[in-house]
Subunit: 200 residues, 2 copies
């Protein structure tokens, strides 16, 4: 039996991203973003939605760039912290003891310690009410060597892809009595494969 | 040591959605969507990116509506299947033995068996190259009673929210030698809380 939910927030396992930007003085900032993800393959676009009052919003508009940093389990405390305070009056990199590295191709810093980072050049800005959606073209993705997989048996270019089980990827989900970061469970079934049982 | 990835696809634990639409004859169709998620809170908007060649693309343009259906672990085979074949020449609901229920507020069907479903009214259409992004306003969310949680201690309206551990939510991730559906691991830390240790 289905029941209507009053608060219109869809509950599903959400990805967790930390977005890196520079401010006017080139001070690096980072912020946790709950709303975002890949939104096109060719060109490779990544979308993030950010409230207009945030320091990161102002930085992205000024620098026309941002990075997307994928955390692993060991940085949970930092991921949560950078979503709770503003970079306007805090040096979040310093508090967390994380290292800001200047992007090679865009005017934004990435987090050296995180296992996967992407540099994005701003392409589209869409006002959606409480949030602004920034769509950036992914111009570089870097992964930490110990967790990289070679999947060229699936597609010729699919090398050096971070393995999310090895990288200890995390998701955000409503669970139990609140909102939690959860780890990944074991791989259950192979995608683009298990469904073939239903094809005659 | 970080290494550049050749194929510009960012690897992270991705949410898995099945999108429901009606065609011109009101035949219900469903399709797995890898790219999408909530993109604003107020109004509550949900974005999905779909290739223009798909039957679902044509249906969304015609009906100006779609549903988002969140699967649980037991429907993995169906989730994978509806991403592999086209609704142009297949009745995917029939093959899967799933039940299409007409949306109450929009011209699109949802999957009765899935624990969480949302009805979306199309608001923005953005051409992004290989994919078209459709942004819909969520006008209804329904959850299956056995998995609903009352989180009104966090926010007054936060009742009847599906618990993703109980609902056995799944994610898509690059892992091991390929692409897998993974279950959720145990909740690790409480969000909006664990990071407070770093606030003086």
């Amino acid at each position: 039996m289905k029941k209507e939910q009053r608060f219109k927030y869809l509950s599903y396992p959400q990805a967790v991203f930390v977005v890196g930007t520079y401010d006017g003085e080139r001070k690096p900032n980072v912020m946790t973003v709950a709303l975002g993800g890949m939104c096109s393959h060719n060109p490779p676009y990544f979308a993030i939605s950010v409230r207009s009052a945030t320091y990161s919003h102002q930085n992205i508009v000024a620098r026309q760039a941002f990075t997307v940093n994928i955390p692993s389990k060991k940085y949970l405390k930092h991921v949560d912290y950078v979503g709770l305070v503003s970079g306007r009056n805090t040096d979040k990199f310093a508090v967390c003891g994380l290292t800001a590295v200047a992007g090679e191709l865009v005017d934004a810093p990435y987090i050296d310690e995180f296992p996967t980072v992407a540099e994005c050049r701003l392409h589209h800005t869409i006002d959606l009410g409480s949030h602004t959606m920034f769509i950036g073209e992914i111009v570089s993705i870097k992964g930490e060597e110990p967790v990289l997989a070679d999947l060229s048996h699936l597609m010729p270019n699919l090398t050096d892809i971070p393995d999310m089980v090895k990288a200890e990827g995390i998701v955000y989900a409503f669970a139990g009595d609140g909102r939690y970061y959860c780890g990944l469970g074991e791989p259950l079934e192979r995608a683009y494969s298990v469904g073939r049982q239903l094809i005659e």
